[in-house]
């Protein structure tokens, strides 16, 4: 008797499948996932998990959260990150303290693996959602992430 139940099952799964695609067909006008890219350049927003490039966010006082611990530099598998650091006197405590001079990021070498961002203990570097990264000169792909004159946010190391 499995013959007849096979036929029944066949027709049933046929209709189930067709109802799924039928629903897609009817909602495709609103929910199309295609981006008509160059046309909607202004309004196109990449999704949150998109890996565009590594950036270091600065707040309104020009303060970042990088303590210069170099964990990102060590985590990077192909040396896209170089940190030039120095020691300076901390005003609050008067002790000697490590601080970054330049956080150099080579976008041209980066494979977007995200290990640096996972390694960062203070969330100083994050993914940006921009995607138009092409330039005519290769040297423009080497970026200094910390803005000139910026300093580390107070209390981030505690």
């Amino acid at each position: 008797m499995s013959y007849f139940s096979d036929i029944y099952g066949g027709i049933k799964t046929l209709l189930t499948g067709m109802s799924v695609t039928g629903k897609y067909f009817l909602t495709s006008r609103k929910g199309a996932i295609t981006q008509q890219y160059p046309d909607n350049r202004e309004s196109l927003k990449m999704f949150e998990r998109f890996r565009g490039e590594v950036v270091m966010p600065h707040d309104e006082n020009n303060e970042h959260q990088c303590t210069g611990c170099q964990k990102c530099e060590i985590a990077c598998p192909n040396g896209s990150i170089e940190i030039i650091w120095d020691r300076g006197i901390d005003e609050a405590t008067g002790k000697k303290k490590k601080k970054i001079d330049k956080h150099i990021y080579h976008l041209g070498m980066c494979t977007m693996c995200g290990l640096c961002i996972e390694a960062c203990p203070t969330d100083a570097i994050v993914w940006a959602q921009n995607f138009e990264n092409s330039v005519y000169d290769r040297t423009k792909l080497t970026k200094v992430l910390n803005q000139p004159g910026s300093k580390v946010k107070a209390g981030i190391e505690d």
Partner: protein, 352 residues
């Protein structure tokens, strides 16, 4: 409608005045053939566009919408590109058969179009064995595919062509038997007669349960006949490159492609004629204006074409043994039982 047909009548009389009868008849046939060729090559192109848009919508995409308004000129541009491309071929291919194959396919599918009753009196060739002619012609197309696969000197093409042979010969039975079920009800093979019978109600309504089973079997087998997904073992991109037309390029490839879509139209048009009353409107609402029959015919056909696209974009491809199991163990026995069932229904006059 009367005006339209008076034009054809005038041309007919003018031709017969101008030249001897035999020659006039030949010229008339050629004229009709050219008109059909023009209409259906354009219709085929638009079916390709429809397929692409519908496929896109099923997959939550947008589809081609750049060339012309909403992409309406897209396939025209594609055809133009294909015409201008170089015709390549393999070394040591059987040149004669290689060049012959695409014409076989396209001619056999265009020949089948001649018998459809698009509306009352708008039928190029109303022979009394219409349905038999259609079944016969639709199985000739496979010779073209076999020739193409055989002669292009390519293993993948040959495998594709052989699969096509297996598939078409198997599913031919189901197509023929399911149509035969309806012939039992209609009592004629002539397409205009079959339409005439349906004036009281479409055959799928008249024949209720057995007719519906026959329709389902016909649509499955018909999809297999046209070598479309989920039965596209012939082309199976992931296994065989492009199957039997791997080695074809330019316009010869376009012929295969166009023939596939015209075949789809033909399968849907046969279903429209046999199951859904061809150009007859539902409940006879436009009975008085027969020219609207063309619209009804095309409307019903397009709905069935859409149904075929629907299962194309829903189901994955079958394996060759599953394909043959489906035909020989399921469709054919169901069909044979169904034909007896229909005979009993007709004999006891329990049709609606």
């Amino acid at each position: 409608m009367t005006r339209f047909f008076s034009i054809t009548k005038n041309i007919h009389e003018w031709l017969f005045d101008l030249m001897p009868e035999g020659l006039a008849r030949v010229v008339e046939m050629i004229l009709i053939a050219v008109v059909y060729l023009l209409i259906f090559s354009v219709a085929g192109l638009y079916l390709v566009l429809l397929e692409r848009r519908v496929a896109a919508w099923f997959q939550l995409r947008i589809g081609p919408n750049r060339v012309g308004f909403q992409g309406l000129l897209q396939t025209m541009a594609d055809a133009l590109k294909l015409v201008s491309k170089e015709l390549t071929g393999t070394e040591r291919a059987d040149k004669f058969l290689y060049n012959l194959a695409p014409y076989f396919v396209i001619i056999s599918s265009l020949m089948a179009l001649s018998v459809f009753p698009f509306t009352k009196d708008f039928q190029a060739f109303d022979i009394n064995i219409g349905l038999l002619f259609l079944i016969a012609i639709s199985s000739i197309g496979v010779i073209g595919i076999l020739l193409g696969g055989w002669s292009s000197n390519n293993k993948f093409a040959l495998i594709g062509a052989m699969r096509s042979g297996v598939q078409t010969i198997s599913y031919e039975l189901s197509v023929g038997l399911s149509l035969l079920t309806m012939v039992l009800l209609a009592g004629s093979l002539q397409l205009s007669e079959i339409v005439e019978v349906q004036k009281g109600g479409w055959l799928i309504v008249q024949g209720h349960i057995p007719a519906f089973i026959a329709f389902m079997v016909y649509m499955i087998a018909g999809t297999a006949e046209t070598n479309r997904a989920p039965f596209d073992l012939v082309e199976a991109e992931s296994e065989l490159g492009a199957g039997f037309h791997t080695e074809y390029s330019g316009m010869k490839f376009a012929y295969f492609f166009l023939a596939e879509f015209i075949n789809m139209f033909i399968i849907a048009a046969i279903a429209t004629t046999v199951f859904f009353g061809a150009w007859l409107s539902p409940f006879g609402i436009t009975e008085s204006i027969p020219i609207l029959g063309v619209l009804w015919f095309l409307g019903k056909t397009l709905i069935l074409v859409f149904l075929m696209m629907w299962f194309r974009w829903t189901f994955p491809r079958l394996r060759i043994d599953q394909l043959l199991t489906l035909e020989w163990k399921y469709l054919l026995p169901i069909n044979l039982v169904n034909i007896v069932f229909m005979a009993i229904v007709v004999l006891l006059k329990i049709t609606i």
